[in-house]
């Protein structure tokens, strides 16, 4: 008998033994975790004779200590295609996007390392980190961050631990556990969109679900067809073009391609306009920081977990330990900009306009007013009586502002040189 024939036979014998192994577990676990057993017994896994040890292993001591975790790699041993698709998607970097290195933070669980590192390696699996996660307590990090961001490593976050019911994972409610709330209310947007209301009244035959568009044809790559990053910043043109073609193909299952392109183009336009508003606010805050007018300035407050004592307005911006105007900008960017743009792509008029665009524009008013207040605190009129500002100090501040603007690309080389010339000549005028 050749080895080629021996191995399949051994494998079949092992599979046949799995129910026996499961039976060994069931005697106790019917009493200790009856719901888990019931779910497993009704699952496709039980029908396929995949027992407890098939996923959990048989080293009970290590199971008890939590050393063995049934993560996406365990599932991927059988569900390889699904895992490959999942890992290509934004779900596949759910933890990476939410974490920074936690080893130096107090009260951290050493087991957290496995979320970002292969065992025995200090190389992060991804360069992405999350400053907001690093600011949290362990409890808040676990419940408030990881319960959603563990989607990367936990298939159970959608599929449940022991059930395998497709009815559950094809129901849009399963997405609602995370895709809701002030920062990304996709579920609410869908629910109150034409798609969602049709689903509610006429069922999936007329009303497409989250899965219809984002997991089309059963793919686990939930990011197919997306043209921007999770912060709403457009992808580079080539990548965006590929994403758009993918989404149009998905839309074309129900709509004419031309109609789909037109609808999605409306979203593109709203995104561009909203980014312009957002950029205006961002530049106002950067200008205030350039002039040391933020209250408090970044070097006078707890350092940013990733960038230190610097102004951070990108995707790593914080909602705590910042100045008031940055807090306004956080709401503007993370809530209102996101609602405007995501509302537009989900064809939800109210979210695009009233929960999004209107709030975005009112945020800009608030931010401008706060900027004026901060500037007025430094005007000569507000200076103590008799205190005259040194022209060199004023000129130096202007030169610093110009240098930072040029560094951010807000001034061309020639503009930068011209503006510096004005400052230097103005200094001469004041001296004379």
């Amino acid at each position: 008998m050749t080895l080629k024939r021996v191995f399949p036979m051994v494998f079949i014998l092992l599979l046949a033994a799995l129910p026996v192994l499961a039976d060994e577990c069931l005697d106790c676990h019917r009493l200790k975790t009856p719901a888990a057993v019931r779910q497993w017994e009704g699952s496709a896994h039980a029908k396929a004779k995949v027992g407890c040890a098939g996923c959990h292993g048989s080293d009970h001591a290590r199971l008890d200590t939590g050393e063995i975790v049934v993560d996406q790699k365990v599932c991927g041993r059988c569900h390889k295609k699904a895992l490959d698709e999942h890992m290509k998607s934004r779900h596949g970097m759910g933890l990476h996007s939410g974490w920074g290195c936690t080893r130096n933070l107090p009260g951290r669980d050493q087991n957290e390392c496995r979320h970002c590192h292969e065992e025995g390696s200090d190389r992060p699996l991804s360069a992405a980190h999350c400053a907001r996660f690093l600011k949290q307590s362990s409890e808040m990090g676990e419940l408030g961050c990881n319960r959603c961001h563990n989607v990367e490593s936990s298939c159970a976050s959608c599929h449940t631990n022991h059930g395998t019911s497709l009815a559950i994972v094809r129901d849009p409610n399963v997405c609602a556990a995370c895709h809701m709330g002030p920062d990304h209310p996709q579920w609410e947007m869908w629910q109150t969109s034409r798609h969602g209301t049709l689903f509610a009244s006429a069922g999936p035959a007329l009303g497409p679900t989250c899965q219809s568009c984002h997991m089309a044809r059963g793919t686990h790559n939930v990011s197919a067809g997306i043209t921007m990053n999770s912060g709403g910043i457009p992808y580079p043109a080539d990548q965006a073009k590929r994403g758009r073609e993918e989404m149009v193909r998905i839309c074309a299952d129900c709509h004419a391609s031309a109609f789909a392109r037109k609808e999605l183009a409306l979203g593109d336009g709203i995104r561009t306009q909203s980014l312009t508003i957002l950029k205006e606010a961002e530049q106002l805050i950067q200008d205030l920081a350039d002039r040391n007018l933020l209250d408090p300035m970044p070097d006078k407050r707890p350092p940013h977990p990733l960038s230190g004592p610097q102004l951070v307005l990108d995707s790593q911006m914080l909602y705590e330990d910042t100045s008031h105007i940055e807090r306004l900008f956080f709401k503007m960017k993370k809530y209102d900009y996101a609602r405007t743009v995501k509302g537009a792509y989900h064809q939800n008029a109210a979210y695009t306009h009233w929960y999004g665009n209107a709030e975005l524009k009112m945020d800009l008013i608030d931010i401008k007013a706060e900027a004026n207040r901060l500037r007025e605190r430094r005007t000569p009129a507000a200076a103590p009586a008799g205190k005259i500002e040194n022209p060199a100090t004023t000129a130096e501040e202007q030169l610093r502002v110009l240098k930072k603007k040029a560094g951010r690309g807000e001034l061309s080389e020639s503009e930068y040189e011209r503006e510096k010339g004005k400052v230097l000549r103005g200094m001469d005028d004041r001296e004379h």
């Binding site: 130096e396 030169l399 240098k403 510096k420 230097l424 001469d428 001296e431």
Partner: protein, 384 residues
């Protein structure tokens, strides 16, 4: 006090010999070998005796010499009378630009006392700083900077810290770390004390910028120095050149817009803000001095006027220029005053102009304006 030694020797260029055998001093004095096309026009007067490698400096107004030899001593050049100010021999000395005060670094155990004396030698102020001070310079009529070097020995090498102390003679000195580095045991064995003495410092004529050498000793490479230009107002630094440990560092030349440094095989006169090399001299640059107006350079004993070598002294000769073309040389056990050089003393800038230029230099150092913008504005400001 010691007896006066006033042997004056006219230096005569003799055939091809490098030793002016005709020069002779009073009993106990050595001669100062000299050669070169203008050697005949120079005179050398032995002023005082001082141990080799001892610190010394010349008062810019009355030529009084302060030196660290058997304590801190002042020498009256006219009479040769020595006055002992303090028992410990200083590790660094500097007269203030107006010649009214003398700063000294007086070592004592693990620390150094920074001390200020009047022209007459009365103690005015003292302040302790940790470690060893190897250089001291005045940056204002009442303020000085000192370069401190601390060393801690470990099995893996010496941890060296260079610190810049600022002291106004009243409050406690303010410390700024210039650099920290670890030097391999092999480097310590090969270079010994020179590892520490290679860390040098020089102050610009306007006293708002400094050149210092930053020591590097990377694994698997030879140790080297980086010459750093630092603006004292802004703290911004510019990496000027990389040189071997044998380099004497850098010196400002003329208005401070040029520097001279040795790279181990030659010496370069350059503009540090444009990286433009103006002239290269065929001397390694271990011992450097520049006259206040930049007319003369002394590089390893070679005395240059512009591009021309006008005289040559022994290569280990240490030189100090004073205003008006005065040159003092330390060779062997003697300090000589060299006569025959002339240099007009530049008129001081009006205070407002000097302040404006100082501000512009600080901005240039931080990259707020370019070197071209600095030069254009300087020209505009300098127009009466």
């Amino acid at each position: 006090m010691t007896r006066r030694r006033t042997a004056v020797v006219s230096i005569r260029l003799l055939a091809l010999t490098l030793v002016a055998s005709g020069m002779a001093f009073a009993a106990g004095c050595t001669s100062l070998p000299v050669s070169g096309p203008q050697a005949a026009n120079l005179s050398a007067t032995a002023v005082t005796r001082v141990a080799p490698a001892a610190p010394w400096c010349v008062n810019p107004t009355d030529s009084r010499i302060a030196m660290g030899d058997n304590g801190l001593q002042l020498v009256e050049p006219a009479t040769g009378i020595k006055t002992r100010l303090a028992p410990p021999s200083p590790s660094a000395l500097a007269w203030s630009p107006d010649g009214k005060r003398l700063a000294a670094a007086l070592p004592g155990g693990d620390s150094t006392t920074l001390a200020i004396f009047s022209r007459q030698g009365e103690s005015i102020a003292k302040a302790p700083v940790p470690g060893r001070v190897t250089r001291i310079e005045w940056v204002s009529p009442a303020g000085l900077v000192a370069l401190g070097v601390g060393t801690r020995r470990f099995s893996f090498g010496d941890a060296i810290t260079a610190t810049l102390y600022r002291w106004d003679g009243t409050a406690a000195p303010q410390a700024t770390t210039l650099f920290e580095t670890t030097v391999k045991p092999l480097t310590i064995r090969q270079w010994g004390e020179r590892v520490v003495t290679s860390i040098s410092m020089a102050i610009s004529p306007e006293r708002d910028e400094m050149l210092y050498t930053r020591l590097h000793d990377p694994p698997a490479f030879s140790p080297y120095l980086r010459i750093i230009l630092r603006n004292l107002d802004s703290g911004a630094e510019r990496d000027v050149a990389t040189v071997p440990l044998s380099s004497g560092g850098g010196r400002f030349v003329g208005t401070g817009e040029r520097i001279v440094y040795g790279d181990g095989s030659s010496s370069k006169l350059m503009e540090p803000w444009s990286d433009k090399v103006i002239q290269t001299f065929p001397a390694p640059g271990k011992h450097l001095a520049a006259s206040p107006a930049g007319k003369y350079l002394l590089i390893d004993g070679h005395l240059y006027q512009g591009e021309t070598e006008i005289a040559s002294f022994p290569p280990t000769t240490e030189g100090r220029f004073a205003p008006g073309g005065k040159l003092y040389l330390h060779h062997g056990m003697d300090i000589y005053r060299i006569g025959g050089l002339t240099e007009s003393v530049p008129a001081p800038l009006p205070p407002t102009v000097a302040e404006r230029l100082r501000t512009l230099r600080a901005w240039r150092s931080e990259g707020l304006i370019t070197d071209r913008e600095y030069r254009e504005n300087r020209e505009r400001i300098m127009v009466p």
